[in-house]
């Protein structure tokens, strides 16, 4: 067990999987010689060679489309999209192709495809570099959507994703690469589709994932000073969604706040709260609250950007409202 950054954890997972299985290869813009836009694949090109760490033309549709072809033909591609905002240029391949192939072609082939991409705001990169459209991808049956919030989960989930035979959107957060955490050495696997409790508490359930886990943990620390103990459930995977720990926690606390970085309308919070009402209506003691991004394209200016993004204070306020 070592304390390493999220970037190192992701890099470690990729490296170990490439060492383990020669069928695994990386393709994307700037992944090779340059080492990746977020330096995740630094050193890979020299070690694994140009065939397995392939710099591509600036062609998002071709990156994902050809990764699909390569997966069908018996390799295990890890395709990198520089940011999730550019995934919209490859949307047809992600949703019309990869998500549907098992079903539409009746299981004639499986599609072991990982799309590693980077989402989230907070780095002053403007409206088309800073989105959190995770819920859009989670809408489609056939895709799996993973978004880790800790270095250990990033490693374990990425290794699970590379070994999976399904197309997976693996969404890393742009401001989490530097966070540090204990990460088990070697073959550490976290199963896809399992939520987990990151902090125990009896008074309120906070449901969150990815970057918002960090903010929720900070909010919980401050709330604890007022004697409020929040239980935090980290979804980790949006599809397939594991509601069991959420429902279990809610039955104990009878109150919930859902924290997501994306927009509130039709978002993750909407889905989670609907499911709580469906599965635990008799346990509801207060209306469920959602904390989310303001409904605007994310601005460049730092102050404006922070005003639009969810803050620790927003979470504390929402928790106090449901108590």
């Amino acid at each position: 067990m070592a304390k390493i950054t999220m970037r190192q954890a992701i890099s470690q997972a990729l490296w170990e999987e490439m060492e383990r299985d020669p069928k695994v290869f990386i393709l994307g813009q700037e992944v090779g010689v340059w080492g990746g836009t977020y330096a995740v694949t630094k050193g890979f090109y020299d070690h694994f060679g140009a065939d397995r760490v392939r710099d591509t033309p600036i062609s998002e549709a071709a990156i994902i489309g050809s990764a699909i072809g390569a997966a069908i033909a018996g390799t295990r591609p890890v395709a990198e999209l520089m940011t999730i905002n550019f995934a919209f240029s490859a949307m047809d391949h992600i949703v019309n192709q990869s998500a549907k192939m098992h079903y539409m072609f009746n299981g004639q082939m499986v599609l072991p495809l990982v799309i590693r991409t980077v989402g989230g705001g907070g780095r002053q990169l403007g409206a088309t570099h800073s989105q959190t459209p995770d819920a859009i991808f989670a809408h489609f049956p056939g895709l799996k959507v993973v978004a880790p919030g800790t270095p250990a989960d990033a490693k374990g989930l990425l290794k699970a994703a590379i070994r999976s035979n399904d197309p997976i959107m693996f969404i890393e957060h742009a401001t989490l690469y530097q966070i540090r955490g204990e990460v088990p050495d070697g073959d550490y696997i976290v199963p896809i589709g399992k939520s987990t409790v990151q902090r125990s508490g009896d008074h309120v359930t906070i449901v969150t994932y990815s970057k918002m886990l960090e903010l929720s943990l900070k909010a919980a620390e401050q709330l604890a000073k007022d004697g409020i103990e929040a239980e935090i459930v980290d979804l980790r995977t949006l599809r397939p969604l594991d509601m069991e720990p959420v429902i279990e926690s809610f039955k104990k606390t009878n109150r919930a706040v859902i924290v997501e970085e994306g927009w509130k309308s039709f978002g993750v919070g909407a889905e989670i709260s609907a499911q709580i009402y469906e599965h635990a209506f008799d346990y509801v003691d207060a209306p469920i609250k959602r904390v989310a991004q303001k409904e605007v394209p994310l601005p460049y200016n730092r102050n404006l950007e922070q005003m639009a993004l969810p803050q620790v204070e927003d979470i504390i306020k929402a928790v106090k409202e449901v108590l």
Binding site: A62, G65, G69, I72, H102, M104, S164, N165
Partner: protein, 327 residues
């Protein structure tokens, strides 16, 4: 090298059988027995010639929806085609989950495409990439209509294959219409093959009604690609004799005179005349073959009509790999 009579006979048979299957599909649609058909009548020479140029079952194919004759040449049976038209159980492309003519046949390395056009070209580049990584001696043939070469993804795929020297043959079937729109409204060049010079791969235009010419040219390109010489772009010209699909009335955009005039270049008739000329077949032989083809089609229709529909519970899977048997 002169091709053997046997090979010519075999190619003619695939063209003939595909034509009779296609014609019957139109009849079944007009009888209200099937929901949809998209036709490849007029394309048979290009498709059969290209299929025979491959090591069938060894090389890969990412076809498009007009490729009935290509698929029949690869091994799609008349029964399987009829099952797909009727949406019956056991249909091999999708278990009747997908529309007919979205051909996929894993047993011969043919990969189905989705409805947005040109996606299959990008998949072909990816398969080419896998072939290269695995150091196999294989080629991918991907087909497309001339209209779909307007898509950004087609350019991305061709560019990608050219940059990385992937073993892919991009075969454009230019049948003069993208539904109702003629080629001059799709591209400012005379032929889709002309686009090759801007992308850095060899491009050539061929007569898509001449099955032997197509066979010879694609054979040469396929062998070069298998040996690491990179991709190629070919445009085969022909005329789409039928409307675009069973939902299209082509009288709104082309005259009957034009269609009749172009029927002179029907590849089936041209090939037939050639086989008689060369003394490979007599009129009587060809009549017998036609009877045989029609009987096979009739039998296939009967088999498909008697086949069951998929069980209702099949609608629920396989969405994820764990639901795929033997994944």
């Amino acid at each position: 090298m002169e091709l053997s009579s046997e090979l010519k006979k075999e190619m003619y048979w695939m063209m003939l059988l595909s034509r009779r299957l296609d014609e019957r599909a139109w009849v079944l649609h007009r009888q209200g027995k099937i929901a949809f058909h998209i036709s490849g009548i007029g394309h048979e020479a290009a498709q059969v010639g290209a299929a025979f140029a491959l090591k069938r079952g060894h090389d890969w194919v990412t076809p498009y929806y007009r490729d009935l004759a290509l698929m029949v040449s690869l091994g799609l049976t008349p029964e399987e085609f009829m099952l797909s038209l009727m949406g019956k159980a056991g249909e091999p492309s999708s278990g009747s989950r997908q529309m007919p003519s979205h051909f996929g046949l894993r047993r011969v390395n043919a990969v189905s495409h989705s409805a947005p056009v040109a996606t299959q070209a990008v998949h072909a580049a990816g398969i080419g990439l896998a072939i290269k990584i695995k150091k196999e001696k294989k080629v991918v043939l991907t087909t497309i209509g001339e209209g779909s070469t307007s898509q950004g993804e087609w350019y991305e795929a061709v560019n990608w294959a050219a940059v990385h020297q992937l073993p892919v043959i991009f075969l454009v079937q230019n049948n003069q219409y993208a539904i109702s729109v003629p080629p001059e409204m799709q591209m400012a060049v005379k032929s889709a093959a002309d686009k090759a010079c801007g992308l850095g791969l060899p491009g050539q235009m061929i007569d898509g009604t001449d099955v032997i010419a197509v066979y010879e040219i694609i054979s040469e390109l396929a062998e070069a690609a298998r040996n690491g010489k990179g991709p190629a772009l070919v445009e085969a010209k022909m005329y789409r004799i039928t409307p675009h699909s069973s939902d299209d009335d082509d009288r709104t955009y082309r005259s009957r005179e034009e269609v009749e005039e172009n029927k002179k270049f029907d590849p089936l008739l041209l090939t037939k005349a050639r086989l008689i000329d060369e003394g490979i077949y007599t009129e009587k032989d060809l009549e017998d073959l036609d009877k045989k083809a029609k009987q096979m089609v009739t039998d296939a229709v009967k088999t498909a009509e008697e086949a069951p529909y998929p069980a209702a519970e099949e609608a629920a899977y396989p969405v994820y790999a764990e639901e795929v048997p033997n994944a």
